[in-house]
Amino acid sequence: MLLNHSSGFVDISTLQLDLHCADPKRLVSPDELIAMGIKLPRTKFPPGKGFLYSSLNTIVLGRILEKNSGESFDELLRKRLLKPLALHRTKLDTNGKLDPPFCHGYTDFCRNMPRQTDTSEWPQFSFAAGALASTLSDVHRWGVALGEGFSLTPTLRQARIDDELGVGVQRAGGRVISFGHAGSEAGYSANVQYYPSTGTVWALMANGDGGTGEAFMAVIKALQPVVEPLAAPSEKWAP
């Protein structure tokens, strides 16, 4: 189905990280990144016949949206989501200029740099796959919009969950407990989940990566057993 990482493009997170660490001030355009990415060998499965999560998918998608609509991805974002949802503190951050007040980020990813190197002025070049900056309050509001299916037809709303289009879905016993997305850039981590049985939103943001991305998972894993019974109580999603 749609938009579900089945192109067979390889994961480019290592490539992106290497670019950041080699020159944190370097701005790489989506087209440059696509050119680099498509030179890497494709995975074995034929188009549409497998799953491999890769930011290259969403970067290509973002460029297709631009070419198809004649508007920049930034314009599409602002017009179609940020403005209607009043996400006033959310923006596509491509030049490493966060709007104050902002949170400093500290990375341990780059072996050529000291521990906890400040990344708050690093340009983001993940484009449609990861260049948004936001706040916990705005992420909460986005979680509600994503969960309630803002602006989508009922069919497409359901397809997004059934086919995991641009969201990850957590299920238990065939039932949807939550859906949402995680995010991680050098120095920053974030996660938002919507729990359809209660309409709950759970959001987290952190300003480190521990060098592996696992540091943030430690917080999620500790909280999850307390959050889930509140956000998706078993009697509410039983038949």
């Binding site: 949802l85 006033h88 936001s134 309050s137 509001r141 974030a190 917080v219």
Partner: protein
């Protein structure tokens, strides 16, 4: 001398706005920001100065101290005016110079701006718009963003009515507004053209806004009172878009400033206070405001788990929020947002959110699919012939 000048300008009268035109203006009170009241279709200034005595409705409306204009004038400067072709409550026509009808909200903005300059009533303004006047208020704010610092929208008309009505109901509504076009010079707003122009106007900057909504059914011309829920839906949408405080429990019909003036006065005072304190919003949006803190037992368990997770993580700082409708909310943070200043993590700090962006990008793609503007059957060869196997890759594969 300042006092004398203020007293002089307190009496209402005609102000020359140039081009051979005069507009009736009445101002009172001292202070900033200046509140400007904008009536609905054909409504003159007395929509805000006169009230009906509920005991003697047959007496009609009379100037009353409990009305919006006199009450707000006690706390700040306030002005009200008559657009061309409006009528007072006793059905007499305004003294403002008539203009060619129909008119648009854009014309309303141009006239109001000219009037405030001619009358030397400086901004910043808080614009209070009723019904059709709500469209003028919003368009004024987007045209002159530096001059407007807050809005109160009183059961305002909006473009969102179009999407909450069926196409047939919308057509009925537009037809009903066209019936106002008469040869007598009375005001006849052109909704369709106004909304078309509003569509291309810039976004209103973040500012304190209160949206007030009627909760008694009324027939707004889309085919009877049974279409009224669409009006409520449009109001919800409007409040959401403007990040407004939404007062929807009003015990009022469409003319809230006349039926429940105290609600409008309270809303204006809240916006004045927010503007004076430098805040960008009156209150948190409803989903936040509705939720009280989560039960103590849950909170203790969550705080403990957060302590454990944070200690284990070694992260500089973390912030988390849990919003459970009809149960409660919990926002907590640990560590710092800045290792140098040791500033805490707070919910208003901007930070990259990485791949959460993908959920935005895919939503836009799905919007375009829903609108028939993006076809999932096309292979990407059309856009990316250089990508290996492009002729077999569909947009859906990303």
């Amino acid at each position: 001398m300042v006092v004398a000048a203020t007293e002089a300008s307190n009496s209402g009268g005609l102000v020359d706005i140039g081009g051979g035109r005069k507009i009736y203006l009445q101002c009172s009170g001292v202070g900033s920001p200046t509140v400007v009241l904008i009536s609905g279709t054909r409504g003159a200034h007395d929509d805000w100065t006169d009230l009906m005595d509920p005991k003697n409705p047959a007496d009609g409306t009379k100037p009353r101290e409990s009305a919006v204009f006199p009450q707000v004038s006690k706390v700040t400067r306030i002005c009200v005016y008559d657009r061309p072709g409006t009528t007072r409550n006793d059905t007499t026509v305004t003294d403002s110079t008539p203009v060619r009808q129909p008119t648009t909200a854009q014309q309303g903005v141009a006239d109001l701006h000219a009037l405030l300059i001619a009358a030397k009533e400086p901004g910043p303004y808080i614009l209070v718009g009723h019904s059709w006047g709500g469209l003028i208020a919003r368009l004024f704010a987007s045209t002159y963003p530096d001059e407007v610092s807050g809005l109160v929208l009183v059961d305002a008309a909006s473009e969102f009515l179009k999407s909450s009505l069926t196409a047939a109901q919308w057509a009925t509504y537009i037809e009903a507004t066209k019936k106002l076009i008469e040869s007598n010079g009375l005001e006849a707003p052109e909704h369709a053209r106004t909304l078309g122009l509003l569509h291309g106007s810039p976004q209103i900057p973040a500012m304190p806004v209160v949206v007030l909504t009627s909760d008694k059914r009324f027939d707004f011309g889309a085919g009877g009172a049974e279409t009224w829920p669409a009006w409520r839906t449009a109001q919800d949408h409007l409040a959401k878009v403007l990040n407004a405080k939404h007062v929807s429990d009003t015990n009022s019909g469409h003319a809230i400033q006349m039926e429940q003036p105290q609600l409008v006065i309270d809303a204006i005072r809240e916006v004045i206070e927010a503007v004076r304190s430098g805040s960008h919003q009156v209150a948190r949006n409803e989903t936040d405001a509705e939720l009280s803190p989560i039960a103590e037992r849950s909170r203790i368990a969550l705080e403990k788990a957060l302590d454990e997770g944070f200690t284990k993580s070694g992260l500089p700082g973390v912030i988390t929020g849990l919003w459970i409708p009809s149960t409660g909310s919990w926002i907590a943070s640990r560590g710092v947002s800045d290792l140098k200043t040791k500033a805490p993590m707070t919910a208003d700090l901007q930070a990259p959110i990485g791949s959460i962006t993908k959920s935005f990008a895919v939503t836009i793609a799905l919007q375009l699919v829903g609108e028939g503007k993006l076809r999932m059957e096309d292979t990407i060869e059309r856009w990316y012939p250089q990508i290996p196997e492009a002729s077999e890759l569909l947009p859906k594969c990303f």
